[in-house]
Symmetry: C2
Subunit: 326 residues, 2 copies
């Protein structure tokens, strides 16, 4: 067998829904998990795992909106988390600091071991594991496990290459973390098939953590990683800033299908086709995501590369350390 | 030829988008039409047609929300239109009265001849002509025209059997009127295929009006009409009122496919199937429409019946009257 990379056990996992209050699969899955058990703690000596489930943005969830004042999932940079707040600060900035106190502090030894943050997209993206690294072996091995266990599902790994301090999303508060993004599903809607996929994804993720904690060694292997390269905005009217075209019907719903130079990109509202003028063939995703209109993003583009993930197992020493802590 | 029902020419037509500010096909189509021509008036003596295009709810459109204070498309009952308003009245109540002044007054001889109000749904409904009557021969003949001209599209006629005074939607302000509802499209998203379908639908509708005004006689024939019978809410937690199930995967996206007693209706978040306990097989539609969660509607059910639409043509006398008016 290959050399096994040994990593500390994952004792505390957080599963978060409603970070965006209108992405309903995560909202209803977390509520279901909370109903089943406020806090599931398996006290088996060699296999202890504490799973915290929470609604990240209760106010936005209550109103079935993405956010109330500011996109919560952009409020977890170090600058935002450790900046001053007052009663007048946006709700989400305050809430991010609360979540950081509960699940973090980000970057500290006290942070939970793993954050899995549940999201939906209107884009036809299947199930994506979204992380900020192509060398977090925990996230990559969980991704391999999901891919193995869910053979009927398109499962992909997306890497936003942003440093930890600059990384802005809730999942960066944990020692490890990723977004579980599933689509297509309109915001403000829960579709049974998407809900069930998310439920299975979370079950398989927790199953992997339990196996890992109990000493299972996971073999290594190559993994396709999509690394974000750039984003493309809609064509817009220079005066009103209104969009003047929609995603081209030949591109719509073709997330992760290679976009080649001169392929159709947009269709203007008067019927004209606009083409992709990039020089490099890249993989489009988040194509026509509803929430990204206001962020000036019609789609993102990624480069695909292969990452060799090592075999991993639980480190003994850390387990001892962990036991001593208890 | 059958007896021809003669009806007055349609001199003034209104095409409205953004009655719900996050239903984007209509918003962008109306903006496109406004750009092309603020007000298209064909001054041909025998064929005069004035088309007014407008954004019904500019504030909600600007914010990409269904509405700001209240659902505008429920504010056109006589009670709401002719009730007192003050500065504290909800924005949409005031706006409805403005629109009634512009396009109505509802029920008066001054009202525009035809209102076509553009909507999108997250449900898989194809193109629906939605009206409050199964004997408005103008709406039914326009429906027949759309069906003929758009053979690749599912085109259906929905009848909400509500009296004129109680009828609550913008299209009831005109002498004739209907909603053009097209889906599936997530709210806050514009999909090229749905936009193009709506554009074609409006073009064919206006083409029909021009043909009608120019003296074309349209033959009669039978038409399938879906008349709304009832609606069904989601199963809900009796305490929190949160929904506890999603539309069943076997029902999702099967709008207008007959629902039979004992067919699956919902799948609870814990995985249980709930069945349809009605005694009558009916046609479901607006299945899992995002905006209807807050209205306690998971789907509506309709009865299908056949209506014999008579041949219609333009009445001479009214044309003379119209000419005299000019």
């Amino acid at each position: 067998m290959d050399k096994v990379v040994c990593l500390p056990r994952l004792s505390r996992v957080a599963v978060c829904g409603g970070t965006h209050g209108n992405e309903l699969s995560g909202v209803y899955l977390v509520r279901e998990m909370l109903k089943a058990n406020k806090k599931v703690t398996d006290k088996d000596e060699d296999n202890s795992l504490s799973v915290t489930t929470l609604i990240s943005n209760p106010l936005a969830t209550q109103q079935c909106r993405r956010y109330v004042s500011r996109d919560l999932n952009r409020c977890f940079t170090n600058a935002s988390l450790y900046g001053p707040v007052s009663d007048e600060s946006p709700y989400e900035v305050i809430r991010a600091q609360e979540l950081n106190a509960t699940l973090g502090p980000k970057g500290s030894p006290e942070a939970v071991d793993l954050v899995c943050d549940l999201h939906n997209t209107t884009s036809c993206m299947g199930l994506c594991v979204i992380a900020y690294s192509d060398s977090d072996w925990i996230c990559l091995q969980i991704f391999r496990h999901l891919k193995r266990q869910m053979p009927d599902m398109q499962v992909r790994y997306l890497n936003y290459a942003i440093s930890g301090q600059e990384a802005y999303s809730l999942d960066t508060v944990g020692k490890h973390g990723f977004g579980m993004e599933i689509g297509p599903q309109p915001h403000g809607v829960v579709r049974s098939n998407i809900y069930t996929t998310m439920k299975l994804g979370v079950q398989h993720m927790l199953e992997w953590v339990r196996l890992f904690n109990s000493g299972t060694v996971f073999e290594g292997g190559p993994v396709d990683v999509f690394t974000v390269v750039q984003n493309i905005d809609y064509p817009r009217d220079p005066e009103t800033h209104d969009i003047t075209a929609a995603v081209h019907p030949q591109l719509q719903d073709r997330d992760f299908c290679l976009l080649r130079p001169d392929d159709p990109l947009f269709q203007t509202f008067s019927g004209e086709t606009l083409r992709y003028h990039g020089e490099e063939s890249l993989y489009p995703f988040f194509i026509n995501e509803s929430a990204y209109y206001e962020k000036n993003i019609a789609l993102l583009l990624a480069r695909k590369h292969s990452v060799m993930v090592p075999a991993i197992g639980r480190s003994r020493s850390t387990e001892e350390g962990h036991k001593n802590m208890i």
